[in-house]
Amino acid sequence: MQYTTTPRQQQQFITPEGELTGSLPEAMTGDWLQQAYTTMVLVRTFDQRVVALQRTGQMGTYASCLGQEAIGTGIGLALQPDDVFLPYYRDQATQYLRGVSFTRQMQYWGGDEWGNHFPDQAAQDFPNCVPIATQVTHAAGVASAMKIRGEKRCALVTCGEGATSRGDFYEAMNLAGVWQLPMIMVVNNNQWAISVPRQIQTGAATIAQKAEAAGIEGFQVDGNDVCAVYDVVRYAVAKAHCGKGPTLIEAVSYRLGDHTTADDATRYRQHEEVNAAWQREPIKRLQTYLHQQGLWSEAKEQSLQQQCKQEVEAAVEAYLALPEQPLADLFDYLFEERPRQLDHQYERAQAKLTALGGE
C-alpha cells in the first residue's frame, strides 16, 4: 500500500462490517490475522478483569484499553525488539507483545514500582507515562541517541489526541523534523480526553495535519483496523530504520470505556455516541472477516475465550500473591548509591513500619 503525505486521508483495510476495502498486503497472512485477533481478545479479557479487580479493591485506579486493542496490537506486531517503545497508559497490548507480562502490568497498576522493572526483551522501553505528552520529548531523546550512534533502530511513542495540545508534543515533533529523527509518534485519537471532546481539543480538521507544522509526514488511519495500524507503523518503522526520518500517525478510534476507573463517562457523553462507536470496534470486524475467510469458527472462538480466561486468571493469581516490596527499595533507587543523608530517614521509616506492624 502506498502512503501519501495527504494527511486527511484515512487508511483502512477492513471496514467495520468486516469487508476488505482492497487487497491485504502479503505480510498479513491467515496466521498473522489470527495472531492479531487472538492478541486483541486476550488483551480485552485482561482489561476487563483488571477493571473488575479495581471494583473489588484489589487494584489501583486503572485506565482501560477497551476499544484501543487494534492500535496496541498493530504497534506491537510491527515494532522490532531492538526498537524502543514509549507508551502512555492505554498500551497494554503493545506492552504484552513486547514481553511485559500481565502480572507485571498489574503490579504497576496495583501500586508497586517493581511493575516497571521490565524483563530483558523490553529492558529499554519506558514505563507508562502519566504526565501527558512528556513522553514524546523523551522519545525524541531516545531517537537522538540512536541517530548519534548511527543505529538502525527507532523510538515509537504513543499518546492520546488530548496530548497533542501540549507543547511537549509539538516541541518534540518539531525537533524530529529538524534532526530527521528515527521516531514515530502514534496518536490514539479516541475522541475524548476525559470529558473533553476532540473538537474542543483543536481546530485542526485532523491530528495528522499537525505534521505540517514540523515539515514531516503525517497519516491518518483507522485505529479500529489492526491491519491498517500495522501497515502504517511497519512503513514508518522501515522508513526510520533506513534514516528517512520521523512519521506522525493519527489512529482514529474511540474510548469505549470510562476514562479510568475513577471516571463516570455517562456524565458527559451520550449513550448513542457510544453505541455507534461499538459498531466500529476493532475485534468484531476482524472476527467477521476471519469467519468469512473460513479462518474462524464458533468452536475456535469458544476455545480462545477459554484460553484467554485461563491465562488472565493465572496472571491475576500471580499478581495477588506478589510479596510487598522491601522498605529499603523506597530509599535505595533514588540514586545509584544511597546518600548518607538518607540513612537516618530510612531508619525512621523502618521504625514506623515496625510500629505499623510490618516486617
Binding site: T61, G110, G111, A193, V196, I200, D263, R267, L330, L342
Partner: protein, 347 residues
Amino acid sequence: MGMHEQIAGLNQPQNGEPARTPQVVTMIEAINLALHRAMAADPNVVVLGEDVATNGGVFRATLGLKQRFGHKRVLDTPLAETLIAGISVGMAAQQLRPVAEIQFMGFIYATLEHMISHAARLRNRTRGRLSCPMVLRAPYGGGIHAPEHHSESTEALFCHIPGLRVVVPSSPTRAYGLLLSAIEDPDPVVFLEPKRVYRMVRQEIYDDGVGLPLDTCYTLRQGEHLTLISWGAMVHETLAAAEQLQHQGISAEVIDVATLSPLDMETLVASVQKTGRALVIQEAAGHCGVAAEISARLQEQAFSSLRAPVARLTGFDIPMPYLRRENLYMHQAGDIVQAAVNLLEAP
C-alpha cells in the same frame, strides 16, 4: 458523588442574597459554594481548566458552574497546563479574574514559568499599570491512593517566589472563606487544596460571601506545653495527635498556617514564646520545604524562649511511593504524638 451533587450551588439563594441558614458541607462542597458565590458576585470571575465545565471537574469542585454561568465564563481548555497559566495571565491583565484549575498538583510544573516569570511580576514590572488577579487552584497532597504524580505536595516551590500568595485550606469553613478572599485578592494566589480532606470532614458553614483573611495563621486549639504547626491534610492528623497528647496530660497548641506565603510569623512566634517548644509537621519532603523556613524564623525570632530546638516532622526525601507504600510516607497522628513526646523529652 453523593450528597455534594445535590448541594452544589443549589442551596445558594439565586438572587445573590447571603444565606442565613447554615449548611453542613464537605470541603469540596465548600469550594464549590465559594466558586458559585464569587461568580455570582462578580461578572469578571471566570473559571477555566481541564474538565471543569461539562464535567464539573474531576473532583466536582466546579459542578454546576457552566450550567449556571454559561460556557463563556466556564471554560474547558485544551490539555495544556502552560497554556492555562499563560492565558490566565492575559485574562487577568484585562481585568478578568480567572480561577484556573490544574487537575492535580503533579501537573502544575508546566505552569511554573508563567507563575514565576509573569504572574508574580506583572504588577511590579509595570509599576502597577497591569496586574494579575488570578487564582491557580489545584488538588494537592497524598492519602487517597492515587496513581503516580497524583499525590504531590510541592508547595515550597511557589512559596519561594516573591509576588505569589500561597494558600492551603484545611477545612470546609477555611476553604470557603479563603477561596473567596483569594478570588477577591488583586494579586495572584496559588490555592492548594488537600484532596485527602475533600470529603473527610463536614462543617456547618454560612454561604454568606464573607472571606477569611489571607494574612494570618489560624489557632485551632490552645495549649501550654508545645506548639504544633501544620497545614493542609496534616492539620487533621495534628488535631488528632493533640487529642491523644491530652490523654497523656500534654497540652498542645495547634496552629493551621493556612497562608504559607507571605507568612504570619506573629501568631507563630507568640505561641512559641508561650510554650517554649515547637514541632512543625509537613507532608512534603523535608529538604528546603516550608517547615525549614518556619523553623529558621522561629529560632531567629524566639530563640530565647526556646526550651528545645524547633523540631520538624517532614516527609522523607524520596518521591511519594506508589500506593501500596503510601501509608509509610504519610504521617499519621501516632507519628506526631511520638515526635511531640521526643520534643518534650529534649533537654
